[in-house]
C-alpha cells in the first residue's frame, strides 16, 4: 500500500508535467492562430500576381491641372518563343513568317534552333495578327502583354511630358524626372507593377490653354512666315507653368522626331539674345536701387559713345526722355544710361537674383545654361541693358518678369503644383513692392500708349514690353533677321498671368511693311489672351457704364 502510494504520486507528477506541456504547446499554437487570423490580409496580395505581371513595368499617368490625361499606359501584345519547347522549327518558321512578313526567316530559324528558354520575337503586335498567330497553335510560341506609353495629346505637350524608350524608361522631359524620383528603383525592386496603384503625377499645365497657345503660334508662323515660335504662360503669383510651347515640336508617340534639331524645346533648351524685353529688368533695377525715378531725365540725343562703340536708337526721339519714356519708346541709349548709373556690381547682382546667370532648375531635365559675360566693362553693361551680349532662355525672361510684376518675389518656375503659401516660403525677394508697382504702371503705360497697343484685349487690361532683337549672322547683327518677342502680363492692376511670345525671323505680313514685334508678337499675344482669359477664370473688367450695357446684352441673350 505504501509502495503503491509512492508509485502513484510519482505517476501523478509525470502526468501533471505532461498535461502542462500539452497545454503550453496547444496554447502556443492557438495563440499563433489568433495572430494569423487577426493579421490584415495583405500577405495574400504577394501571391496573387502572375508571371504576366513581371513584364509590365508600370508608369504613373501624367495628368494636367484639370485631370486630363497627358500620358498613360496601354497594354500591347508582344510575341515570344520558347525554343526549347518547339517541336518542328521549320514549320514554326514558315507559319510565323507568313503571318509576320517583317520577321527575318534566317535569323528566326537560327534563334528557334537554339536551346534557350525564352526569347522575344516581336514587340507590339497588332490585335488582328495576334488573333491569327494564336490560331496557328504553334507550341512554344505565345504572347505576353506589355505596357506601352501613350500620349493622347500628341505633340501638344510633347516638350513637357517628354517620352520613354521601348523598355518604358523615361528618357526625356517629365518622364525622365519621374524615373529619377525613385520610380526606376521601385520597378527594379519589383514593386511598381501594372495593377498596383501608382498615383498619377499632376502637372500645372492646362491642356486647353496649351492647345490655344500652340494653335495661335502655328497660325503666327504661317502668317508671318517665321522659322519658329515660342509661347509661355506663367502664373504670375506662384510661377507655375500653365503653358509652354515651342514650335516646331514633336509627337512623343513618335520619339524619333525628337532627334531633329529644329524640333528642340526652344523655350528652355535654347538661349537667345532677347533684345528690348530686357529693358524691363534694367528699368526695374534702376528704380529699385534708386538710381532713377520714373520722372528722371535721361539724355537720348544722338548716339552714346562708349570707347570705340556707339549705341544708337531704333526709333530715335533725339531728345531728353524721362525714364518712363525710355521704356515706352524702347530707347537703347536711355536704358544703357540707366545701367551705367546702377553700376556693374549691382547690375550683376540683380541679374543673378533674376536667375539670368544660372541654369534654370525646374522639373524638366532639358534646360540650357545661359551665355553670360564673365567681365562687366561699360560696353557690356550698356548692351546687356537692352538684351544684347547676354543670352538666356525665354523661360528665364518669363520667370523674371513674373517677379517684376507680382510684388518682387522670385522662385524657379515649376511644372508641379505650388500654392501661394509655399511660394511665400521658398520665394526670394528681388525687388521692393514699390518698384514692382512702378513697373506695373510702366507695363500698363506701354501696353496702352506704347509699342504694345496691338496686344490690347477688351476687358483684360494687358500690359507689356516689346522686343525686336537683330539676330547675329556670321558674327554681325543682320538687319532683316529678327527675333521678336512680346512680354505681357494681365490683368495689369493685379497681374495673374505672364504671357511671353517669341517669333523667330518673322517676315512682314502680306500687304504690310514692318516686321517689328509690335506687328507680329504683340497681336499674337492678344489672340492668345482673348482665347485663354475665359479659360483661366480671369474676370474681365470694363469701365462702369460699359459694364451695364454689356450686362444687358448678356442677360437678354438667353
Amino acid at each position: 500500500m505504501r509502495r503503491n502510494t509512492v508509485r502513484n504520486e510519482g505517476a501523478r507528477g509525470r502526468i501533471g508535467l505532461l498535461l502542462v506541456a500539452c497545454v503550453a504547446i496547444f496554447g502556443v499554437i492557438s495563440g499563433r492562430l489568433v495572430l494569423l487570423a487577426s493579421a490584415p490580409a495583405v500577405a495574400g496580395a504577394f501571391y496573387a500576381g502572375s508571371p504576366q505581371d513581371d513584364v509590365q513595368a508600370a508608369r504613373p499617368d501624367i495628368i494636367d491641372r484639370n485631370g486630363e490625361v497627358l500620358a498613360t499606359d496601354l497594354a500591347t501584345a508582344s510575341l515570344y518563343a520558347e525554343p526549347r519547347n518547339i517541336v518542328d522549327v521549320d514549320e514554326a518558321v514558315e507559319l510565323l513568317t507568313r503571318e509576320l512578313p517583317e520577321l527575318d526567316p534566317v535569323k528566326l530559324r537560327r534563334d528557334l534552333s537554339t536551346d534557350r528558354g525564352f526569347i522575344w520575337l516581336q514587340r507590339e503586335v497588332s490585335g488582328l495578327k495576334r488573333e491569327a498567330i494564336h490560331n496557328l497553335g504553334i507550341p512554344g510560341i505565345g504572347f505576353l502583354t506589355e505596357t506601352k506609353r501613350f500620349y493622347p495629346g500628341g505633340s501638344t505637350v510633347g516638350h513637357i511630358v517628354g517620352h520613354v524608350n521601348i523598355d518604358n524608361a523615361g528618357i526625356a522631359g517629365l518622364e525622365k524626372t519621374i524615373d529619377g524620383g525613385g520610380l526606376s528603383a521601385l520597378q527594379s525592386a519589383g514593386l511598381a507593377r501594372k495593377g498596383r496603384d501608382l498615383s498619377p503625377v499632376e502637372v500645372t499645365i492646362d491642356l486647353r490653354v496649351q492647345h490655344a497657345v500652340r494653335d495661335e503660334l502655328s497660325r503666327a508662323i504661317e502668317r508671318y512666315r517665321a522659322l519658329a515660335a515660342i509661347g509661355i504662360i506663367l502664373d504670375a503669383k506662384t510661377l507655375e507653368v500653365v503653358a509652354m510651347t515651342s514650335l516646331p515640336d514633336y509627337d512623343p508617340n513618335e520619339p524619333a522626331q525628337a532627334l531633329e534639331d529644329i524640333r528642340m524645346n526652344r523655350a528652355m533648351a535654347g538661349v537667345y539674345e532677347m533684345g528690348s524685353v530686357f529693358k524691363t529688368f534694367t528699368l526695374a533695377m534702376g528704380l529699385d536701387t534708386g538710381a532713377i525715378t520714373p520722372a528722371s531725365q535721361l539724355d537720348a540725343r544722338g548716339k552714346l559713345q562708349i570707347g570705340r562703340h556707339a549705341i544708337g536708337d531704333f526709333h530715335g526721339k533725339n531728345r531728353v526722355l524721362t525714364a518712363a519714356e525710355v521704356f515706352q519708346y524702347s530707347s537703347n541709349i536711355g536704358s544703357a544710361r540707366i545701367a551705367l548709373k546702377v553700376g556693374a556690381q549691382r547690375v550683376e547682382e540683380y541679374y543673378r537674383a533674376f536667375g539670368f546667370l544660372d541654369r534654370l532648375d525646374t522639373e524638366l531635365p532639358e534646360a540650357a545654361k545661359p551665355l553670360t559675360p564673365s567681365r562687366w566693362p561699360q560696353i557690356t553693361l550698356a548692351t546687356t541693358s537692352f538684351g544684347h551680349g547676354i543670352s538666356v532662355t525665354p523661360m528665364h525672361v518669363a520667370a523674371a518678369a513674373a517677379a517684376v510684376v507680382n510684388g518682387g518675389i522670385y522662385a524657379n518656375p515649376t511644372f508641379y503644383p505650388r500654392s501661394e503659401a509655399e511660394m511665400m516660403r521658398i520665394g526670394r525677394r528681388v525687388l521692393s513692392p514699390q518698384t514692382s508697382k512702378q513697373m506695373r504702371d510702366l507695363f500698363y503705360l506701354n501696353g496702352n500708349e506704347g509699342s504694345g497697343r496691338s496686344a490690347l484685349v477688351p476687358g483684360y487690361n494687358v500690359g507689356g514690353k516689346t522686343g525686336t532683337a537683330e539676330k547675329v549672322v556670321g558674327g554681325r547683327y543682320a538687319e532683316n533677321k529678327r527675333f521678336n518677342s512680346y512680354l505681357a502680363a494681365f490683368p495689369m492692376d493685379d497681374p495673374q498671368y505672364i504671357v511671353l511670345v517669341v517669333i523667330d525671323e518673322p517676315k512682314p505680313e502680306e500687304g504690310k511693311h514692318y516686321a517689328t514685334a509690335g506687328w507680329n508678337a504683340a497681336p499674337t499675344v492678344a489672340n492668345i489672351i482673348s482665347r485663354v482669359g475665359p479659360m483661366l477664370h480671369v474676370e474681365p473688367r470694363f469701365p462702369n457704364d460699359d459694364a451695364i450695357e454689356r450686362a444687358i446684352t448678356v442677360a437678354y441673350q438667353e
Binding site: 495574400g44 496573387a48 499617368d61 486630363e68 490625361v69 497627358l70 498613360t72 499606359d73 496601354l74 497594354a75 501613350f150 493622347p152 495629346g153 500628341g154 501638344t156 501594372k194 495593377g195 491642356l207 486647353r208 492647345h211 490655344a212 500652340r214 494653335d215 484685349v457 477688351p458 476687358g459 483684360y460 482673348s530 482665347r531 482669359g533 475665359p534 474676370e539 474681365p540 470694363f542 459694364a547 451695364i548 450695357e549 454689356r550 450686362a551 444687358i552 446684352t553 448678356v554 442677360a555
Partner: protein, 108 residues
C-alpha cells in the same frame, strides 16, 4: 459508477474530434473556394482596371482640344460656334444693376 463516466468522456472526446475534424475540413474547402474566388476577382479587377485605363486613354484622345477644334471647324456651318470673348462674361451684380436701370427707364 466509474464506467458510465468514462464512457461518456470517451463518446464526448470522439465526437468532439469528429466534429472538429469535420469543421476543419469544411473550413479548408471554404478557404480553397474563397481563394479561388479571390483570384478570380483579382483577375477581373485587373482586367477592369486595364479597360478603364484604355477608356481613359481613348477619352483623352477624343477630348483632345486639337481634335475638337478640327471638328468644330469642319462643322462650323451647322454648329456656328465661336470662342467666348471677355465682353460675354458679366458678374451677377452687373446684371442686377442693368435690370434695375432698365426698369427705371421703363417707369419714366
Amino acid at each position: 459508477m466509474k464506467r458510465p463516466v468514462r464512457f461518456a468522456a470517451l463518446v464526448l472526446a470522439v465526437s468532439v474530434a469528429t466534429v472538429s475534424a469535420g469543421s476543419v475540413f469544411m473550413m479548408k474547402k471554404d478557404a480553397e473556394r474563397d481563394a479561388f474566388a479571390i483570384r478570380e476577382l483579382n483577375r477581373k479587377i485587373a482586367a477592369e482596371r486595364q479597360r478603364i485605363s484604355e477608356l481613359r486613354a481613348e477619352w483623352g484622345a477624343l477630348d483632345n482640344p486639337r481634335r475638337l477644334q478640327a471638328l468644330v471647324d469642319r462643322h462650323a456651318g451647322v454648329l456656328r460656334l465661336a470662342p467666348i470673348e471677355g465682353r460675354q462674361i458679366a458678374q451677377v451684380r452687373e446684371v442686377v444693376a442693368a435690370m434695375r436701370q432698365k426698369r427705371k427707364e421703363g417707369e419714366k
